[in-house]
Symmetry: C2
Subunit: 153 residues, 2 copies
DNA sequence: AGCTAATTGCAAATATGTAGCGTTAAGAAC
DNA sequence: GTTCTTAACGCTACATATTTGCAATTAGCT
């Protein structure tokens, strides 16, 4: 993410913290910067690896706790994925995902056609829709070439 | 799932196993029956709990391994979800999901409007699309009432 | 009935995430 | 800038969710 966008996001984060009486620490700032720079929908541990290069003695616990908190107050989101560990998404606005069914990669796509989707009525489920994501499921480039290699051997 | 549909699915499974030289065991049959009966997009452990009532001395390892195998050969699918453990979906055909951002519930919805989505071109990502899901993200009925209670106390 | 390799179950290892708790420090009040 | 309150930190231990290696078993072909 470019610097201007990051500054904007950091400002938004500051406003939310002020409103809710939350404190901004060195650790939280570093975690937010790290996750804004990662575009692969990282797990908490991947964020930890990245932050630890900047704040070497940060605790894993803090990273896990902070990411959960960020998602709760809407500073980041959680990505829906087919795998076994929570994945975070720095993007909060409407966008969509390519999902690799071999390696569980989550890849961002933007498409106005998808954005324009008419959301059906869900009142019979008593479900309150906040937003939506379209997930195109299939095989990513890397796994396609990998699979070809494995078959040819 | 009703008996006719289950029989059909079991037959499809038999064909796949024959074609690929896989063996059908008491355990695998029980696991497939269990997962076809669960409509809440269960985790491997939830499937284990269910199967264990029918085959008491089945191993957890077998359930985990078998579900992975089922998904690989396309007998079932994996559901995309925001949580931290893999969730399986007995449905393999096109359908969509309501995703609760509080409790991670995954609820099936069917809507021809969503099915008719025009899938954008993904060739610039080198991504081969197999199918898609629309996920409506929000708050489920149960969590809405729970939240109201918590706020009023 | 015999054979072969897929499959199972066990035990132990590895990921992933959380809770409890004493210590530190952000940021408001003065 | 000092003080004060309490959010947040980091540690350790715990909890949960899988995975791996391997010896024993068994489905399904001949």
């Amino acid at each position: 993410m470019d610097d201007a966008a990051k500054t904007e996001r950091m400002d938004a984060y500051r406003r939310i913290c002020r409103d809710q009486g939350l404190r901004i620490t060195v650790q939280k700032r570093a975690i937010l910067e790290a996750v804004l720079d990662l575009d692969n929908h990282p797990t908490a541990d991947q964020v930890y690896e990245s932050v630890a290069r900047v704040v070497p003695d940060i605790s894993r616990t803090t990273v896990y706790r902070t990411l959960e908190g960020f998602a709760r107050i809407g500073v980041i989101t959680k990505a829906c994925h087919p795998g076994r560990s929570t994945r975070y998404d720095p993007r909060v606005e409407l966008h969509h995902h390519l999902i690799c069914l071999h390696c569980d990669a989550v890849i961002d796509i933007t498409d106005t056609g998808l954005d324009a989707l008419r959301i059906p009525d869900t009142s019979d489920h008593g479900f309150e829709v906040r937003d939506f994501r379209v997930q195109l499921r299939g095989i990513c480039r890397r796994c396609q070439t990998k699979d070809r290699k494995e078959k040819s051997t």
